[in-house]
């Protein structure tokens, strides 16, 4: 059909134009700027302490889907699984005065926060679960964060397609009351597919920010030189937005 051919040709020309714009430096700059306008608008309209919605127990999804790594086989991880994570450590380091190395037992003894929140994947799906763990702010305060720190980097045990997973947030999200280092999901230790034994909860951003299989929390002044410098595994690898509140 002629009309369909015309439509396909018009669509293809438009797409080609968009792609060409996206490849220019100016195009890239505009696309990145748009992301930061959203972040600024969110920061303007949303109080830095304002909470993501919390749900009653009855709203919990019967199963909590896992995405990305769901059963890491690299490095020491399988050994930790065999040991029931008895020797797992969480390092808190970087720009801090008092670096910490915590066992799961240490982490469980800290003041805990339990929250029933909704997890939104960048792909579009959502699941609701009950998470328990200490607030990240408690760890950062105990480690005495340096004034030079601007970002908190989350290091992970899983290696996905040849690169170590990692993520990062700014200090606003790091100190948000719902930002916790979760060790429990729905009253049970985290399942492997959801990040056992520890994962981050960054409740006002999309799922890829919620780093799983957490091994270290690192305070830095800049994201340059970490991974490919874009602030996270998917940001480096596929150009995902560092600010994932959109």
């Amino acid at each position: 059909m002629k009309r369909r051919n015309f439509l396909v040709a018009a669509g293809a020309a438009f797409v080609a134009g968009c792609n060409r714009i996206a490849e220019t430096d100016a195009g890239k700059a505009v696309l990145n700027a748009a992301e930061s306008w959203h972040k600024s608008a969110h920061r303007l309209l949303v109080d830095r302490e304002a909470l993501a919605p919390e749900y009653p127990k009855s709203a919990i999804s019967p199963f909590f889907r896992g995405n990305g790594s769901t059963d890491p086989q690299n490095g020491d991880y399988p050994r930790h699984v065999e040991e029931g994570f008895a020797n797992w450590r969480l390092e808190v380091g970087g720009l801090v005065a008092n670096p910490l190395s915590l066992s799961l037992e240490n982490i469980r003894r800290l003041p805990q926060r339990t929250q029933i929140t909704r997890h939104d994947c960048v792909e579009g799906w959502s699941a609701i679960g009950e998470w328990t763990g200490p607030q990240l702010s408690v760890l950062l305060d105990a480690a005495r964060l340096s004034e030079d720190a601007r970002f908190i980097v989350f290091r992970c045990a899983d290696n996905l397609s040849g690169a170590d997973y990692y993520e990062s947030v700014d200090l606003i999200d790091a100190y948000h009351p719902q930002t916790i280092v979760a060790h429990t999901l729905n009253g049970e230790p985290l399942p492997i597919r959801n990040g056992a034994p520890l994962r981050m909860r960054i409740e006002r951003q999309l799922g890829y920010k919620h780093a799983k299989y957490l091994t270290a929390v690192e305070a830095v002044a800049s994201l340059d030189g970490i991974g490919d410098g874009q602030g996270g595994y998917w940001e480096d690898r596929a150009g995902y937005q560092w600010y994932a509140g959109i």
């Binding site: 797409v15 949303v46 909470l51 909704r118 994947c121 579009g124 959502s126 998917w234 150009g239 509140g245």
Partner: protein
């Protein structure tokens, strides 16, 4: 006086660019998880009320599967789209385009009047005495400007997790995050349906004059 005000013409073409980019990048986003749910959550086919077909690459921005690039375009064009819509509403309230041309009168809602209008449309008689737009046009433009496009903005805000602490009431009003996402897609397709009907009617009503007038403004008939 011109047939189309400058503000209308500027917004019309800006909005065309925004809607096309948003729709085509939105099709890539649909391909990322082509299932729609109601309520707060949903991730599995068994919970979906609709499995959306996969959209071919020639329909999508970019012309290959990349959720991050599609989101880049979506996130960029959301700005001129939402601000443009706000501008158009302000302009048509100030220049009275809304009151004069789009607001319907009670008598136009009489079934006999609506029937007559439909019959005239089917006869491809687009000559309407006096008023700028006939009833079906007013209804279509009113729905698009007053419901479809604003709902794209509101449902879009609702599915941004960073906005939710402030706009949680809106998410609740829409029936939860997955309902808001479903509505986002439904209003997108409603807008696309309007687009198709609009283009077909422009072609039937004399495309050269219609497009010329939407560029130059034309003359009041």
């Amino acid at each position: 006086m011109k047939r189309h005000a400058l503000s209308t013409r500027l917004w019309h073409w800006l909005n065309l660019l925004c809607v096309v980019t948003l729709f085509m990048s939105g099709l890539t986003i649909s391909n990322a998880h082509p299932r729609l749910y109601w309520g707060d959550w949903g991730f599995d086919a068994s919970q979906a009320w609709l499995i959306v077909p996969r959209f071919p690459d020639w329909m999508t921005i970019p012309g290959y599967y990349s959720l991050s690039v599609a989101r880049d375009w979506h996130i960029l064009m959301a700005w001129p789209f939402a601000l443009g819509l706000l501008f158009m509403w302000a302009a048509m309230l100030i220049n009275r385009h809304f009151k004069r041309d789009i607001v319907t009168a009670r008598r136009e809602w009489r079934p006999s009047a609506i029937r007559r209008d439909i019959v005239e449309h089917l006869k491809l008689n687009f000559d309407h005495q006096g008023a700028k737009y006939n009833f079906l046009q007013k209804l279509a433009y009113g729905l698009v400007l007053g419901v479809f496009l604003p709902m794209m903005v509101f449902t879009g805000i609702s599915i941004s997790p960073g906005m939710e602490p402030t706009f949680g009431w809106l998410v609740d009003l829409l029936g939860g995050r997955q309902s808001a996402r479903t509505l986002h897609f439904l209003f997108a397709f409603a807008t696309a349906a309007f687009f198709v009907v609009h283009v077909v009617l422009v072609i039937l009503a004399g495309p050269i004059r219609q497009i010329r007038d939407m560029i130059t403004g034309g003359r009041e008939v």
